[in-house]
Amino acid sequence: MKFTIQVMVPPYTYEDMDTAIKIIEAAMKRGHEVRLFLFSDAVLAANSQVKPIRIDRSIPKKLEELAEQGLRIEVCGICLDYRGVTQEMLIKGANASGLPELAELTMTSDIFVNLMA
């Protein structure tokens, strides 16, 4: 089945990116095709310049690892511009896209998991 997970709130401030990662890992383990759409402040999770302190988890690095394992990551381009994150700053495997891609993901998803703002 095709899963899409949408996250809207910023990583580290809220738990949604951690929740999304757990859903992604569990769904991929069961053989599902998984896509992640980062919207609004959640786009910061795909910023490779994020540097958490050593004892904390690196959410961008974790997403990069999941992308290597087949996770498709789409990031709202307008949301990136609003927050000063350029395409060059994105982690490997993340694509700057927009609402046409979100519409395509929504249309082709068997399951759409929205993490409420």
């Binding site: 929740t19 569990a26 769904a27």
Partner: protein, 91 residues
């Protein structure tokens, strides 16, 4: 439908989401939504034959005790199984 509840018991929207659930729906409590698992109001949902589960790790990590849970505690694997069976979602 599978209804996700991620905010706590004082959140105005989550209580309405729970109230709008119907028979055969499933409510999954995650993040601060797990506090509903200890709240008597969640029994009203179960009385309407709505299945309610809470994510175990998120429940225990908030200092809640397993013995106080009024709903079954589940893993993310089980959560994915629930979504596989009922693909309509409210999140």
């Amino acid at each position: 439908m599978v209804i996700l509840v991620k905010y706590g018991t004082d959140h105005a929207v989550e209580s309405r989401k729970i109230a709008w659930a119907k028979e055969s729906d499933t409510i999954v409590l995650l993040q601060d939504g797990v506090f509903w698992a200890k709240d008597d109001r969640i029994k009203e949902a179960e009385a309407k034959k709505i299945k309610v589960f809470a994510i175990k790790d998120e429940y225990l990590s908030r200092g809640c005790l397993e013995k106080d849970a009024k709903v079954p505690l589940i893993s993310y694997d089980k959560f994915i199984e629930i979504l596989e069976k009922d693909t309509k979602t409210v999140g």
